[in-house]
């Protein structure tokens, strides 16, 4: 059962990341913002490589996206993780400020180009960036 668990999570996350329109997915630890799983984003340090759910994508990444890494096309996983983490901390403090016993359940950030959906949990965060429907 414990051996199935990582496979199942891997398959679920892979499915999610392969849905049409999904640009990238990210699983972070809630307390620290450490990256647990990522796909669709490139990361610079080699230790983060094993995190990726799509190692094939990661192999292509240096060739395809290396130019865009710092130019605002595709961001590195660490940058996105850090920014999302500080964002959700700010959202959490807002909600707690409004009502002490309340907590953030879902964050959807719609921008002109895409949408960020963040599902927080007591221990983890699942972040998915996907394209907005053309309509």
């Amino acid at each position: 059962m414990t051996q199935n668990a990582p496979d199942e999570t891997l398959s679920l996350l892979t499915r999610l990341s392969q849905k049409p329109g999904v640009q990238s997915t990210l699983v972070l630890s809630r307390e620290t913002g450490a990256i647990v799983r990522t796909s669709g984003l490139i990361s610079n340090s080699s230790s983060v490589n094993p995190n990726s759910t799509l190692p094939a994508a990661l192999d292509n990444a240096p060739e395809g996206y290396s130019n865009g890494r710092k130019e605002g096309g595709i961001h590195s996983a660490e940058d996105v993780a850090r920014m999302v983490w500080s964002f959700i901390n700010a959202a959490g403090s807002l909600v707690e400020g409004l009502d002490r016993e309340d907590e953030v359940k879902l964050l959807r950030l719609r921008t002109k180009k895409n949408e960020l959906v963040i599902v927080p949990d007591s221990k983890f965060l699942l972040v998915v960036i996907h394209d907005t429907p053309p309509a």
Binding site: A5, E8, V27, D121, A135
Partner: protein, 553 residues
């Protein structure tokens, strides 16, 4: 010769004196009984071993004749061998006591009768007072066995987040928690002190810099390397049950979020021109010629499980209108997959079922229980009636027996009748058996009824393929058969009719097996509860008005 005798006498006196002192001590310590510390036994000292050898040589010199006596300590020592050694080990503290006690262990040796004194319990207490070595023996603690699993050294140099990194990951795996040794606790202390120092430094830099932006930048830079988890921590985290639960729940939420077709930010003024170009509507000019077409809005299909399975039943949930369940028969090209499958679909999530349940034989009918929001009841080809719970795992939580007391033929139809507090599951199988069960106990039927063809029939066997109850009356039902006739039946004996098929009436209209019956729900102003729809393999659906049960034919 004389010298030797003198020697012997002197030594005997010495031994007697020692014996007296030993007895004195025995009386003192017989009151205090303490358990023997096992560790003490493990550590004999070499110095004592030397003196023991010396003493043994003395004894052998003394008592050459009673050689068998000297070996006797071997036999009680075999049984109570711990005592001499423990005497010796306890004696390590003070040489005086040791010298006294070690000969005392040997004094019983020469006389054969004294051997029995070794068996006296108080002998064990001699050394109990000398138990101060206990604090020393703590070095034998259990924790030191393992190597350091958890916090690799490179983590120590990181900033304040490293402590936070370690504690959640440590909490996540029970394996790591068990391996906490003193060494780790010491390292924890070190880390905490390091962290305190670093936090103080951070605060100092905060105050010095005096601007939020700089502070956050420095903090984020400091904590940035701590973002990446090492491989072991990563594996530990991802293998945890918490992580799996989290991923299942949150991926469902995200899939539902991604599913939306309706764009809430739609600006109709802007996009108005494009709306007319929709061609999948059929409402345009071409549509009116052919009439309104049915438009497909969703297709529910799961990659892994839905292949090549026939759908045998569909049902909506009474409690959650967006949940629909579909029951499937077996996949002939996948013999190792479970034969029967039930998938509960959410209208907002088209390619992943909310829940999935399986069974060992094909499921022919299934429905949500109207009285229990979490239960699903299904009938199988093997004749079993199965009960699943959405809160439990995917296997049935209850099954009816396959023996003669239950059904032995496929159960093609079932229904749940009664009220919230008193409800029964009624199931019918193709051999004419109708059973009633309670939801709590599916191990035995509460009712057993056999339906037989009424007299003007070639055979008595009736094969009901579907049953239906009117909404107002749980004691009377209609059964549709393989021949195409529909018979009213009573569950219980009454004044007007016996239990079983009511022979006075039969609704014959279909020429082929009747696959489904449904009564009109008795809601609203008009009571249309006597209208029945029947669908049959002869490609027809008929609407009937049935006579009330009490009326005679």
């Amino acid at each position: 010769m004389q010298q030797r005798r003198d020697e012997i006498i002197a030594k005997r006196a010495k031994l007697a004196e020692l014996k007296r002192q030993r007895e004195l001590r025995q009386r003192e310590f017989s009151a205090s009984r303490q358990s023997i510390d096992a560790t003490e036994l493990v550590q004999p000292t070499p110095s004592r071993a030397d003196s023991r050898r010396e003493l043994e040589s003395i004894i052998s010199a003394l008592v050459g004749e009673s050689r068998p006596g000297s070996t006797a300590p071997g036999s009680p020592a075999g049984g109570k061998g711990s005592r001499p050694t423990s005497v010796i080990s306890a004696g390590q503290l003070s040489s005086d006591n040791a010298e006294i006690s070690s000969p005392t262990s040997n004094t019983p040796a020469p006389p054969v009768g004294a051997i029995q004194r070794l068996s006296i319990g108080p002998l064990t207490t001699v050394y109990e007072t000398l138990s101060s070595p206990k604090p020393e023996i703590l070095t034998y603690s259990k924790g030191i066995q393992t190597s350091e699993p958890w916090s690799p050294p490179k983590q120590r140099s990181f900033g304040s987040d490293s402590e936070g990194d370690e504690s959640p990951t440590r909490a996540k795996t029970p394996r790591a928690a068990k391996r906490l040794s003193r060494r780790e606790r010491e390292r924890d202390e070190e880390l905490r002190q390091n962290l305190r120092r670093e936090i103080e430094e951070e605060l100092k830099t905060l105050q010095q810099l005096g601007s939020d932006n700089m502070a956050t930048a420095s903090i984020s830079q400091q904590s940035f390397p701590a973002r990446t988890l090492t491989n072991e921590e990563l594996n530990a985290v991802t293998s945890s049950e918490d992580f799996l639960d989290f991923v299942e729940r949150s991926s469902k939420v995200i899939e539902r979020a991604l599913e939306q077709e309706y764009d809430i930010l739609a600006d109709y003024a802007l996009g108005g021109m494009n709306g007319l170009d929709d061609d999948d509507d059929g409402y345009g000019t071409t549509g009116t010629k052919k009439g309104r077409r049915i438009k497909e809005i969703a297709q529910f299909w799961d990659e892994r499980w839905s292949k090549k399975r026939m759908i045998s039943d569909l049902g909506f949930s009474t409690k959650f209108p967006e949940l629909v369940l579909a029951s499937y028969t077996k996949n002939p090209s996948a013999p190792h997959d479970p034969d029967g499958l039930i998938q509960v679909w959410n209208l907002h999530m088209h390619d992943r079922p909310e829940y999935m349940f399986h069974a060992q034989s094909d499921i022919l009918t299934a429905k949500f229980s109207p009285f229990h929001p979490n239960l699903i009841i299904g009938g199988a080809y093997s004749g079993q009636v199965l009960l699943w719970d959405t809160r439990a795992k995917s296997a049935p939580v209850q099954k009816t027996p396959l023996t003669g007391s239950g059904h032995t033929h496929p159960v093609y139809s079932l229904d749940i009748v009664g009220t919230q507090n008193a409800n029964n599951i009624i199931s019918c199988s193709t051999d004419g058996v109708v059973c009633g069960w309670t939801v709590d106990m599916l191990s035995q039927p509460q009712e057993y009824l056999e339906l037989a063809n009424p007299p003007p029939a070639k055979t008595e066997d009736m094969a009901p393929t579907c049953i239906a109850f009117p909404h107002a009356d749980p004691t009377y039902f209609l059964a549709g058969t393989e021949e195409g006739a529909i018979y009213p039946c009573h569950r219980y004996d009454r004044a007007g009719a016996k239990a079983g098929v009511d022979a006075r009436l039969a609704y014959r209209g279909h020429a082929a097996p009747v696959m489904s019956l449904d009564f009109h729900p008795a809601r609203g102003m008009l009571d249309l509860g006597d209208l029945v729809l029947s669908a049959s393999v002869d490609w027809s659906v008929k609407l009937w008005k049935v006579r009330p049960p009490a009326a005679a034919a």
